[in-house]
């Protein structure tokens, strides 16, 4: 009795639903017509709370989309490739005019991009901020964002220069990486090492230890504290993959009662605190990678694509180095982007 009743209720509901669905589909035609008036683009973010970078970046995307009064649908994959694959498919299904993707996993994202491209042949797809692996895909219209591999090289070069200036013949350093397994971390590691190789300076750089810092200040600080007890005065430099960890490193150095520059470190992003540390001499340099500029870049490129202009596959974000020489120019802008203590 009980059961039958409930199933009657449910089947009635679902029947009405089915009819409803069909009726909706009939209406589809004209709706489609007036919807095409405005432009809608989809953006698939990897992991919003994983890095402080993503947030202002997302804001910038929204802002510059709003300027062009585009509607932008954003999803957050929470660092899970499977979720991102699903979300990319869902976004594509929302009859959008353009799709932007920041991959969680450089290689893992490829197949879904190919699938979407084959299903929606005239949907332009842009990779944003983080490159795919392989970096160039037929399925994809192009890439817009920083080249984290180049940044790695850039940072490597900076250190080589520093060592040469100081006239050291060998420098003992530790290497703190981003979250193990994430694209940017791998690029910045390879880039750095290749830079040393190209400068023929491998043997000048003596790696004491490598630990992941998960992009995090606290990890950066903890790891550094351990290194200080472990290597003591042997330690001369710490290569960090981003500002967050770099700031942690600097903080540990301060607490250990060292003087600025006694052990050199670096950042990458150009967060206010980092730029300040460069100013105060705790950091040798940081790489200026403005999330705002980065976000805008993606939209600009997408706009070009939508207007049918032909763009070359890679559009890189310029990422100048911030060091003692030019730090004052960048400080105000940094505050503007990241806020006072940001």
């Amino acid at each position: 009795m009980k059961k039958t009743l409930i199933w009657v209720v449910i089947s009635v509901l679902s029947l009405s639903l089915a009819l409803f669905g069909i009726s909706c589909k009939d209406g589809a035609g004209e709706e489609a017509a007036d919807e095409d008036a405005g432009i809608t683009i989809g953006y698939s973010l990897p992991f919003i709370e994983d890095s402080p970078y993503t947030f202002p970046f997302a804001e910038a995307l929204k802002a510059s989309a709003a300027e062009r009064d585009w509607e932008i649908i954003m999803t957050d994959a929470k660092g899970d490739i499977n979720t991102q694959v699903n979300q990319v498919e869902d976004l594509a299904a929302q009859d959008i005019d353009g799709l932007l993707v920041m991959p969680v996993d450089a290689a893992g994202i490829v197949s879904v991009l190919e699938k979407v491209a084959s299903e929606y042949p005239d949907l332009p797809i842009l990779i944003s901020n983080t490159q795919t692996d392989p970096p160039e895909l037929d399925a994809v219209t192009g890439f817009a964002g920083p080249d984290s591999y180049l940044e790695g090289k850039q940072m490597g070069a900076e250190y080589v220069e520093y060592v040469k200036e100081m006239g050291m013949d060998v420098i003992n350093y530790c290497h703190i990486t981003g979250t193990a397994g994430y694209g940017a971390a791998i690029d910045r590691e390879n880039g750095f090492n290749d830079a040393l190789a190209e400068a023929g300076a491998e043997d000048m750089f003596n790696l004491l230890d490598l630990q992941p810092g998960d992009w995090s200040p606290d990890k950066g600080q903890t790891v550094t504290e351990n290194w200080l007890t472990q290597f003591g005065d042997d330690l001369q430099m710490i290569y960090s993959h981003n500002d967050g960890m770099g700031i942690g490193v600097a903080n540990a150095l301060k607490n250990a009662g060292l003087d600025p520059g006694q052990i050199v470190t670096n950042g990458c992003d150009g967060q206010t605190a980092a730029v300040q540390l460069v100013k105060d001499g705790w950091m040798l340099f940081t790489i200026w990678q403005s999330p705002v500029a980065d976000g805008e870049l993606s939209i600009v490129v997408m706009e070009k694509v939508l207007n049918g202009e032909d763009v070359d596959y890679f559009t890189y974000l310029v990422t100048p180095t911030v060091d003692a020489s030019n730090v004052d120019e960048y400080l105000p802008e940094a505050i503007e982007i990241w806020g006072e203590g940001g």
Binding site: I6, L13, F20, L45, A58, T75, I81, Q94
Partner: protein
């Protein structure tokens, strides 16, 4: 009247699903098509398959946090073994993933360790193992044919939909019509009587752990083929999602109670919510908030209705 209300409450998940589907249909005219409905199932597959295994384990009164790691580990082994041919690699992957369950089972049954802590341990261990094997960077598949498993389509519908359906029918049948399944309820419901009835409680508990990891291994295969990559960080957050889905479906965390029919409903609800976030273009900053509230809402209503039903039972109303 009260009767109807209670019966409706019994089926509240179905109702929720229907409501979600209706609202989605209203909002998105492309939604109510075979293809997009299938895509809901398709997206539910990876977590869904694991949730089925988790349900069996939960019913027996145990718990597994290591499914995520097992899934990722399977993928890694499979991709690494690909040079030795497709079959070997898949077999190897599944064995590897299932090993996690074997170890969990041994720790819990022989070592008498609390399942929560044992699987917490294996979760860390196998993630570490994965990182060590891959040098903590993703590894790419080399065999084209392998992609078919996770990406192949039939009339625009992913095979994965079929896997999901098959797994659920299989598990449903197992739970209802086999000793393996009935003993599950017996052990979860009253381990002592199970023992006295001559059921080898330890052996079965062990096999439930193995089965759970086996489903995780299947998911691992599907995922690694779907993205044709393996990475130790895959599935970091999976375990709680999977457990949440099962519990959403009315499976008790204290054993003896539950069904895959409930679980699949839980899985679908979570999937539909994800889709709704996209369709309604929920601001990314608030998507998390929504997820949290939904889970909280469900568990609270569940607690409340449970209370009412108990009260009615005492008072012979029902």
């Amino acid at each position: 009247m009260k009767k109807t209300l209670n019966t409706l409450l019994d089926q509240k998940l179905v109702i929720i699903i229907l409501i979600l589907i209706i609202t989605l249909t209203v909002q998105d005219r492309n939604f109510f098509s075979l293809r997009s409905l299938a895509s809901i199932l398709d997206h539910a597959t990876i977590n869904g398959v694991m949730a089925a295994g988790m349900t069996i384990l939960l019913i027996s009164g145990s718990f597994d946090l290591s499914v995520g790691s097992a899934m990722a580990f399977t993928g890694i082994i499979t991709i690494m073994l690909q040079p030795y041919g497709l079959f070997i690699s898949i077999l190897g992957g599944i064995i590897a993933g299932t090993m996690v369950g074997v170890i969990n089972g041994l720790l819990v049954v022989k070592g008498r360790i609390n399942a929560f802590i044992a699987t917490l341990g294996t979760m860390v261990i196998f993630k570490g193992l994965g990182l060590a094997l891959t040098g903590s960077s993703p590894i790419k598949g080399t065999i084209e044919a392998y992609k078919v498993i996770g990406q192949g389509e039939f009339l625009g519908i992913h095979y994965s939909v079929i896997y999901l359906i098959v797994v659920y029918i299989a598990v449903w049948y197992i739970l209802r019509y086999t000793k393996f399944g009935r003993n599950d309820y017996a052990i979860g419901g009253n381990a002592l009587s199970a023992k006295l009835a001559g059921i080898n409680v330890n052996l079965y508990t062990f096999t439930y752990f193995v089965f759970c990891s086996f489903t995780a291994a299947i998911s691992g295969i599907i995922l690694s083929s779907r993205v044709n990559t393996a990475n130790a960080i895959f599935g970091d957050t999976t375990n709680l999602t999977v457990i949440a889905a099962a519990v959403l479906g009315g499976t008790s965390l204290f054993g003896g109670k539950g069904s895959v029919i409930g679980t699949i409903q839980g899985v679908l609800i979570l999937g539909l919510i994800e889709r709704a976030m996209v369709v309604f273009n929920v601001d990314t900053n608030y998507q998390l908030l929504v997820r949290g509230f939904i889970i909280l809402a469900v568990v609270v209503t569940d607690a409340v209705t449970q209370r009412r039903r108990q009260l009615n039972l005492e008072r012979g109303v029902v």
